[in-house]
C-alpha cells in the first residue's frame, strides 16, 4: 500500500517533484500449501433456515404441550385458557431452542422480536377485522341502489331493504360539515396565523386556552349547545345547532395542528421575503401559507374527519328525523353517525343491516377525505417544482421541434450530403446520418 503525502510547495517555480513516502506493502500471509476453495458470497439478510425451523418447531411443541396439559394434567376448559397457555408455552420453548446456540442477549432479542410481531399482528388483524366485519354485515344493504338515494320516511321497521335508504343522512352530514367548515376554516386559520405571526402575551394566553379546549369532551360541546342555543335561545334542534356543536369541537383541534405546522415554516424564508421589501401581510400570503399549504390541508382534513364521525355532539343537538331535510335552519336534520346509532337500536335484522351499511358509507366518506388529503398534500413545493420543470422541458421541446423538423425535411431533400453539420445552439438535433444509410 502506498501513501502519497500532500506535496509541500516551497514557493519556487519549477521545484523538483514532491517527495513520495513509500510505505512497505501490507502483505497477507499466504498459506502456500492450503487448497483454495472457491469463494462463496456471504448471506447478509433474509431468513436462515434454522431460524424458521426453530419458530415452526416451537409452535408445534407448544401446541402439543398444550394438548398434553389440557387432556392429562390440568382441567383446561375453553378457547381463551388454551390460547393463553399455548402462548406462554411457545415463548418458553422458543427461548429454550434459541438458547441452544445463542447467548443471553440474542435470546432476549429473539423473544422480543416474536412478541413485537405478535402484538403488531393482533392489532392490525383486529383493525382490518373491524372494517371487514362492518362491510360484511352491511353488504346486503349496500347492494341496493335505493340505499344511497332514498330516505327512511316510507320505510317502516319491518320493510325489506329494497325500500328506504340513508340519502337523507348523507345529505345531512354534508350540509352540517360544510357549515362547520365555513366557520372553522377561516376562523381557525386566522387564529393560527395570529398565534405565530403576532406573538406576545395575549397570543400565549389564547394558545393556552385553545390547548385547554382540545380536552373538551365532545359530549360536553353538545351539552353546551343544547343548553344555550336550544334551551336558552330557543333555536329548535336543527342542522345549524349540530354544526355549532361540531364547530366548537373541531375548532381547537384545527387551530392546534395548524399552529404546529405554521411554526415549522423556516424563518429564513420569511426573512428573505421581508428583506426583499415585502410587508408582513405579503409575506404571510405569498410565503408562509404556500409553504405550509400541505400541512394546513392535512390539519383541516383530519379535523373534518373527526367532526364528521363524532356522534355525541349531534346526538344532543340535531334531533332525529326519518325524512330528507335540506334546510339547516329549521327542523331536525339527521347525519350519518346519528343514523347508525338510531338504526342499531332496533332489534330488526334489516334495521341492523342498514346501520352497518351506514357505517360503511361513513367510513368510505372518511377514506375519501384521506385520499383528498394525500392528493392535496402531495402538491408541495418540491412537486410543484418538478411539474414546472416538466412543463419547461415540454415547452423547450415544442420550441425546438420546428427546427428539428425543418432540418429533417432538408435532410430528406438532400439525403446524401455528408457535410450536414449541426448548429452550435441546436442541442436536440438528430445525429447526422452516415452516407450509406438510407434515411
Amino acid at each position: 500500500m502506498t501513501t502519497t503525502l500532500p506535496p509541500v510547495t516551497t514557493g519556487a517555480v519549477g521545484a523538483p517533484a514532491p517527495p513520495r513516502t513509500v510505505v512497505p506493502r501490507t502483505s497477507v500471509p499466504d498459506p502456500a500449501g492450503a487448497p483454495r476453495r472457491p469463494e462463496r458470497r456471504r448471506q447478509l439478510g433474509g431468513t436462515r433456515i434454522g431460524d424458521a425451523l426453530a419458530l415452526v418447531g416451537s409452535g408445534v411443541a407448544a401446541l402439543a404441550l398444550t394438548a398434553v396439559v389440557a387432556t392429562q394434567l390440568a382441567p383446561l376448559r375453553g378457547v381463551p385458557a388454551c390460547v393463553a397457555v399455548a402462548t406462554a408455552l411457545f415463548l418458553v420453548v422458543y427461548a429454550a431452542v434459541v438458547s441452544l446456540d445463542a447467548d443471553a442477549p440474542a435470546v432476549r432479542d429473539r423473544l422480543v422480536m416474536v412478541v413485537v410481531h405478535g402484538l403488531a399482528f393482533v392489532v392490525l388483524a383486529t383493525l382490518v377485522f373491524v372494517v371487514v366485519f362492518t362491510l360484511g354485515r352491511g353488504l346486503q344493504a349496500l347492494l341496493h341502489a335505493n340505499f344511497y338515494t332514498q330516505d327512511m320516511s316510507l320505510a317502516g321497521p319491518l320493510d325489506p331493504l329494497t325500500v328506504g335508504g340513508v340519502g337523507h343522512a348523507i345529505v345531512g352530514s354534508l350540509i352540517q360539515i360544510t357549515i362547520a367548515l365555513a366557520v372553522t376554516v377561516p376562523l381557525g386559520l386566522a387564529t393560527a396565523v395570529f398565534l405565530t405571526e403576532v406573538p406576545g402575551a395575549f397570543a400565549r394566553f389564547v394558545r393556552t386556552v385553545v390547548e385547554a379546549m382540545t380536552a373538551l369532551p365532545s359530549i360536553v360541546a353538545g351539552l353546551f349547545v343544547y343548553a344555550t342555543a336550544i334551551l336558552a335561545l330557543g333555536i329548535d334542534k336543527s342542522g345549524l345547532a349540530a354544526s355549532m356543536a361540531i364547530s366548537i369541537m373541531m375548532l381547537p383541534i384545527m387551530i392546534r395542528s395548524a399552529d404546529v405546522v405554521l411554526r415549522l415554516v423556516p424563518h429564513t424564508l420569511k426573512e428573505a421575503s421581508v428583506g426583499l421589501g415585502a410587508g408582513q401581510w405579503r409575506t404571510v400570503w405569498r410565503v408562509v401559507l404556500p409553504t405550509a399549504r400541505s400541512g394546513l390541508m392535512t390539519a383541516i382534513i383530519l379535523a373534518t374527519a373527526r367532526g364528521i364521525g363524532e356522534t355525541s355532539p349531534v346526538l344532543l343537538t340535531s334531533g332525529f328525523t326519518a325524512s330528507l331535510n335540506v334546510n339547516p335552519l329549521h327542523g331536525p336534520m339527521v347525519s350519518l353517525p346519528l343514523a347508525i346509532f338510531q338504526f342499531v337500536k332496533s332489534p330488526e335484522p334489516t334495521m341492523i343491516a342498514r346501520g352497518f351499511g351506514t357505517a360503511a358509507v361513513l367510513m368510505a366518506l372518511v377514506v375519501l377525505l384521506f385520499v383528498l388529503a394525500r392528493v392535496v398534500g402531495a402538491q408541495d413545493v418540491a412537486a410543484r417544482a418538478r411539474r414546472t420543470e416538466r412543463v419547461d422541458r415540454l415547452m423547450d421541446y415544442l420550441r425546438l421541434a420546428p427546427l428539428t423538423l425543418s432540418r429533417l425535411v432538408r435532410r430528406g431533400d438532400a439525403p446524401d450530403s455528408p457535410t450536414d453539420t449541426t448548429g452550435p445552439g441546436d442541442v436536440t438535433a438528430a445525429p447526422a446520418p452516415t452516407p450509406g444509410e438510407p434515411s
Binding site: A120, G188, T191, F194, A203, M213, A215, I248, L315
Partner: protein, 326 residues
C-alpha cells in the same frame, strides 16, 4: 461642541395593509378566545347551581336523582376512570408493539402501507367500533371474562360476585355489558392514535446513535432499548396520555355497550358500568332545568379530569428530548 448621544428611537411604521392584516388575525384570535371562554364560563356558571346544592357530597354520592337533591358523581367518575384504565392498560402494550414493529421490524416495502393503514384507522368514527363491540366482541368475550374471573378470583377487582365456576350453566349475562367489554372496545379505538404518535417519535430516533449501538455489537433489541425507547419516552407518555384523554371522553361506544349502574362497580368483569359521558347522553333528554345544571356539573368534572391529563401530557412531552422541538 459635542452633543450627548441620545439613543435613537426605533419604531416600526407598518403600512396600512399590514395593520389591517394584524387587526384581522387578532380579531380571529379574540373571537376564538371569546367562544372558548364562553363555553368554559357558561359551563361553570350553570354547574354552580347544582354544585351549591350538592356541596362536597357531589364528589361522594353514588346516585343520580338531581330533582330530589340526591346526586353525585362518585359512581360515574370511578366508572369512567376504570373504563379508561382498562383501555389504556390493554392499548399500551399493543400500541408499543405495533409502533416498534412498524418503525424497526417491518420490511421497507410494507412500511408505507402500514403507516397509512394505522393513520386511517385513527380516523375511523368511534360509532363503528361501538357496533363491532356490541355485535361481535360482546358475545365472544364472555368466555374470556369467565376464565379470567375464575383464575384470578383471589384478586377482588377481577372477581365476579354471584358467579359459580363449578356451574357450567351459570348465566352468561353476568359477564356482559361490563367495564371490561367497554374498556376493550375503547382500547382498540385508541390504539391507532397511540401507535401513530409513538411510531412518529421512534422513527425520529437519531440514525447515528442507532448505528453506534449496532456497531458496538448490540442486538436489535439492545439497540431499541438503549437508543429508541429512551429517545421516544416523551412520545410514549404523550401518546398514552392522549389515548387516556380520548378514552375518558368517549361517549357513544360506551353508551351502546354498558348497562348503566349508579353504584361504584369495582368488579370490572361484572355486568354493569357507567361513565360521565354516557350519563349525559342517557339523561339529557328528560332533565329538568336543575337536572341540566347537575349534568353540566358532571360534564365540568369530566372536562377538568381530561384537562389535567392533557396538561400533564404536554408538560412531560415538552421536557423530553424528542418533544423539545415540536
Amino acid at each position: 461642541m459635542t452633543a450627548t448621544d441620545v439613543p435613537r428611537r426605533l419604531g416600526t411604521r407598518r403600512p396600512p395593509s399590514d395593520r389591517a392584516f394584524r387587526g384581522v388575525v387578532r380579531g380571529g384570535g379574540v373571537l376564538v378566545l371569546a367562544i372558548m371562554s364562553c363555553v368554559g364560563v357558561f359551563l361553570l356558571v350553570r354547574a354552580w347551581q347544582a354544585l351549591r346544592v350538592a356541596g362536597l357530597g357531589f364528589l361522594t354520592t353514588q346516585a343520580w336523582e338531581p330533582d330530589s337533591g340526591n346526586f353525585g358523581i362518585a359512581a360515574v367518575l370511578v366508572g369512567t376512570v376504570l373504563i379508561a384504565l382498562v383501555a389504556v392498560s390493554v392499548a399500551l402494550p399493543l400500541a408499543l408493539g405495533t409502533s416498534l414493529y412498524i418503525s424497526e421490524y417491518a420490511p421497507t416495502r410494507l412500511r408505507r402501507g402500514l403507516i397509512t393503514l394505522v393513520d386511517l384507522m385513527a380516523a375511523v368514527p368511534s360509532v363503528v367500533f361501538g357496533l363491532w363491540g356490541v355485535f361481535y366482541l360482546q358475545g365472544h368475550l364472555t368466555d374470556v371474562a369467565r376464565w379470567i374471573s375464575t383464575v384470578f378470583a383471589w384478586f377482588p377487582p377481577l372477581s365476579v360476585q354471584g358467579a359459580d365456576p363449578s356451574d357450567p350453566l351459570s348465566p352468561v349475562t353476568l359477564y356482559t355489558s361490563s367495564t371490561f367489554v367497554a374498556g376493550l372496545v375503547v382500547a382498540f379505538m385508541i390504539t391507532p392514535i397511540m401507535t401513530s404518535i409513538m411510531r412518529e417519535v421512534f422513527m425520529q430516533a437519531p440514525v447515528g446513535e442507532r448505528e453506534g449501538a449496532l456497531a458496538l455489537g448490540s442486538t436489535r433489541w439492545g439497540m431499541i432499548r438503549s437508543v429508541v425507547l429512551p429517545y421516544g419516552l416523551g412520545g410514549i407518555v404523550g401518546g398514552t396520555m392522549l389515548g387516556l384523554g380520548r378514552a375518558l371522553g368517549e361517549t357513544i361506544a360506551i353508551y351502546m355497550i354498558i348497562s348503566p349502574v349508579f353504584t361504584v362497580q369495582w368488579h370490572v368483569l361484572q355486568n354493569g358500568a357507567n361513565s360521565v359521558s354516557s350519563l349525559i347522553a342517557l339523561r339529557y333528554g328528560e332533565a329538568s332545568p336543575f337536572g341540566m345544571s347537575a349534568l353540566m356539573a358532571a360534564g365540568l368534572a369530566l372536562f377538568l379530569l381530561t384537562l389535567a391529563v392533557n396538561f400533564g401530557a404536554s408538560s412531560i412531552v415538552a421536557r423530553s428530548r424528542s418533544g423539545a422541538h415540536s
